[in-house]
Amino acid sequence: MKLYLKIWRQKDASTPGKIVDYTLDGVEGDMSFLEMLDILNEELVSKGEEPVEFDHDCREGICGTCSLQINGEPHGPDRLVTTCQLHMRKFNDGDTIVIEPFRAKAFPVIKDLIVDRSAFDRIQQAGGYISVNTSGNTIDANTIPINKYDADEAMDAATCIGCGACVAACKNASAMLFTSAKVSQFALLPQGQVEATERVQNMVRQMDLEGFGNCTNTGACEVECPKGISLTNIARMNREYLSATCKG
């Protein structure tokens, strides 16, 4: 199929960017979206032009590196997939596709389609851990039984890949889904209880410092999340935050 691509090109963080038009022929349905971009880049390099830079790594939907806004949607039109798992069979011959980086104040553009998501790391550094030494001298893993339902829910929250689609989808560029997924994982497990109060406060404080917006319960994040992280997590984080604030 033949596609008309409108791609955001930006030299670096300090140079203004713009949309550039490309036409690409010979695209097949079995190609992934990123393989389609590989072909475009191969053409650009052979013409002596600079290829379009985009973030990607595992190309199997788990590392969370790829981050494209495709026709206005993070990771494109398909549900529960990352950009690398989106296949061209979802598009038709003659389609125009607009490709932009994830947009948020807290995710500045580095080059072309690549954004800086280190704000996510800093939120995790503020409290996304259990303070246990890694010496291995802990208790036997089966000493504390955990209700299967809680363990499964904690796992569901923990599957967040930190891609930032929730932020890119949100009209407020809020990172509540991302932050609440980690808060929830630990809130649901006995190991997370000891530091629950400080954790939620520190992570929320860092989230605000980074310039992410607030949640207004639109739910776009849940719809666009490639891992199906539930909005319930935000409710749980709010409850944790409230109870932490009451405890002081």
Binding site: D38, V45, H87, Y129, I130, T134, G162
Partner: protein, 667 residues
């Protein structure tokens, strides 16, 4: 030979590690604050090592090419992590895990290292649970297990099909705790370009900031390389696109021996290649072999009809199917080790029984599992005489609960519903057992340069068992390196900070700059990917699942020619001093073009078949691997001498005091 001292402690197998820990030197907490350690790579091994070393009090700098440590490719491991907990009471023990690993590795790994791995395996699970890793649990609240290839017990712990992700996020969280304390400085989007040696010791690295293009100097008292495997030398593999051998290869060029490069794991259950545009291959977890049955048609005409789309696999009668693994290996059936399963698939496809358009695929069928689970579920739900549709529906629900994410991933990629029609799979490059040679302390042949996880060669011999990579990565990082590196650093308590303005750093930086200039200066005929794909084809066709003398010799010549062509004609657009993904790729492919040749040279010299290394000249009448313990019971460690063809072989004899060497049998 004196140079290759594995430093395995003396004494009984089960006491070696404890004895060693009691004998080695320690660094007191106040002195640790004056010692710097660089950790390159932030996957399970690097992330765990960085967190633990920082927690002990050392000043740690981590480096990764990804934008965050959380994205290292350990994250993609699906199935699970082994540990000899014996929670299932099915006869597991440290000894059995040790034995299974040595046997699975086809008797090409060290007894001492592997026993230590088994010994600390249980601790890993304790540690991870304490960190909040949400492993799968049973209804009683206890941890659940499943079974993996090459073993007869259930010792694999898992977190759905995302075990690697959860363990990596655990290590990442431990790192974050230390970053928050200021004990780790994380340099993300940075690539190690070279290792710096001062007075023969590893004292730092030259790194490139991948955003600004700036070249940086970083010094330390020791350098840990936990940079993963080199599977991408095949271009197509299950590795991440960025996975590369650069750090390990730079260390090799500076004097670290590279061991057993030809020991590569080709994983049996991957989604088959669909076309030339393909950029990577996707794994379907080995755990699927717990319930999926692998088959091809018995008759060639049926295989042809299926390939042409004239016959549906579901229409083929049971007696016309060849469940070749169950036929050939009745004891282990579909759960034979990976090397055996891969070769068996290739054998059937080469014989003309492949089932997709290219003839390079076999079926992985869940129909019997769906029926079995459906009947069981109907029974426990009190349904009497359920019809077939009800059984199928119930069975599909059970299978979905177990493998739902994998089935969904398959459907997204292949556009077929694996609940209704069998999956198609084919082997793909997945893991490299070879890597930097290390002694029992995980130190390479360069003093102060350590290697952990997949980047080293130490524990898996000629074939790795499923769910053992995560175990080794975390064992090295959390529990081994933090002890052994202290023994070395105890000599450095008075050294003080290592200056970066020395001539050694000057020279190393200049070499890095010259190399990049040279890459940018090619005549500009072909792209980096052009060369990478060509290299991959040579590797897959001539150094892949089956190798022979003639083709290996051809491969050596072809890779050497391709390397020459690459340096003359590669096209790298952009500039050195800015973000430049093509330049990053070019540097990595340049190293693959050297490693590939050493790989073929190693495969050529090893005149035997063992584990993942199958030489067609050395096989039994039934087509099984024919090992030669008399002549090849050693680790082949190569010393860099300029061109790969000049690499010099050093041997480390493998001593088996506790295990009797046997022909591996899974029949």
């Amino acid at each position: 030979m004196g140079i290759l001292d594995s430093k395995i402690p003396s004494g009984p197998l089960a006491d070696k590690w404890t004895k060693h820990k009691n004998d080695i030197n320690l660094v007191n907490p106040a002195n640790k604050r004056n010692i710097d350690i660089i950790v390159v790579g932030t996957g399970l091994a690097g992330g765990a090592a960085a967190a633990t070393l920082a927690e002990l009090g050392y000043n740690v700098k981590t480096f990764c090419y990804q934008d965050s440590p959380r994205r290292a490719h350990s994250i993609a491991a699906q199935g699970g992590i082994n540990a000899a907990k014996n929670y299932q009471g099915d006869g597991d023990s440290n000894y059995r895990l040790f034995y299974d690993t040595i046997k699975g590795g086809d008797y090409r790994s060290r007894e001492g290292n592997v026993y230590r791995l088994a010994e600390v395996s249980g601790n890993i699970i304790d540690q991870c649970v304490a960190q909040g890793v949400p492993f799968a649990r049973e209804y009683g609240g206890m941890l659940d297990n499943r079974s993996f290839g090459g073993v007869l017990v259930s010792r694999t712990f898992y977190a759905k099909g995302q075990t690697g992700q959860q363990l990596l996020l655990g290590a990442y969280s431990a790192m974050n705790r230390q970053i928050n304390r200021g004990k780790i400085q994380a340099y993300n989007r940075h690539e190690m370009m070279d290792l710096v040696l001062v007075d023969g010791k590893a004292r730092g690295i030259i790194a490139r900031d991948l955003v600004s293009g700036e070249i940086e100097r970083h010094s330390a008292h020791a350098v840990v390389l936990a940079t993963g495997g080199y599977g991408n030398v095949f271009f197509l593999s299950t590795n991440a696109m960025g996975s590369n051998v650069m750090a390990a290869w730079r260390a090799h060029r500076k004097g670290a021996f590279f061991a057993n490069p030809c020991f590569t794991q080709i994983h049996p259950t991957c989604i088959p290649v669909s076309g030339d545009h393909q950029s990577k291959l996707t794994l379907m977890s080995e755990s699927l072999r717990n319930d999926g049955r692998i088959w091809v048609p018995k008759k060639k005409e049926d295989a042809i009809a299926i390939r042409e789309g004239k016959l549906k696999p579901t229409e083929l009668a049971e007696e016309d199917r060849d469940y070749y693994l169950e036929r050939r290996y009745p004891a282990f059936g579909n759960l034979v080790p990976r090397d055996v399963a891969s070769r068996a698939a290739k054998e059937r496809c080469d014989a003309g029984f492949g089932v997709n358009k290219t003839g390079e695929a076999v079926f992985l069928d869940f129909a019997s599992a769906i029926e079995r689970y459906g009947k069981e579920k109907a029974l426990t739900s009190g349904l009497k005489n359920p019809d077939k549709a009800t059984i199928t529906k119930l069975g599909e629900e059970v299978v979905e609960a177990k493998y739902g994410n994998l089935f969904q991933m398959y459907e997204k990629i292949v556009d077929q519903n694996p609940y209704k029609t069998p999956m198609m799979i084919y082997p793909a490059v997945h893991y490299t057992m070879g890597g930097l040679w290390v002694d029992y302390n995980l130190q390479t042949t360069i003093p102060g340069c350590y290697s952990a996880g997949e980047a080293n060669f130490s524990d898996h011999g000629a074939n790795r068992l499923g769910a053992s990579a995560l175990m080794q990565g975390l064992a090295d990082g959390y529990f081994v390196l933090p002890y052994t590196i202290g023994d070395y650093l105890s000599d450095d308590i008075r050294t003080g900070a290592i200056p970066t303005d020395s001539k050694e750093f000057d020279e190393a930086e200049q070499q890095v700059r010259d190399r990049m200039e040279k890459l940018m200066g090619g005549s500009g005929i072909h792209s980096v990917d052009y060369y990478h794909k060509k290299l991959g084809k040579i590797m897959w066709n001539k150094c892949g699942m089956a190798r022979n003398e003639k083709e290996l010799k051809e491969a050596i010549k072809e890779i050497s020619d391709l390397r020459k062509d690459f340096w003359e004609n590669v096209k790298v657009p952009g500039t050195i001093d800015s973000k430049n993904q093509e330049l990053e790729k070019a540097g990595r492919v340049a190293d693959f073009l050297e490693l590939g040749e050493l790989f073929a040279k190693d495969a050529l010299h090893r005149n035997e078949s063992c584990g993942g290394h199958f030489r067609e000249e050395y096989q039994t009448e039934e087509g099984e691997a024919l090992r030669d313990d008399e002549n090849f019971k050693y680790v082949a460690a190569w010393e860099y001498k300029g061109e790969p063809k000049d690499a010099e072989l050093h041997k480390e004899d493998l001593v088996y005091e506790n295990i009797e060497l046997k022909t591996r049998s899974y029949k």
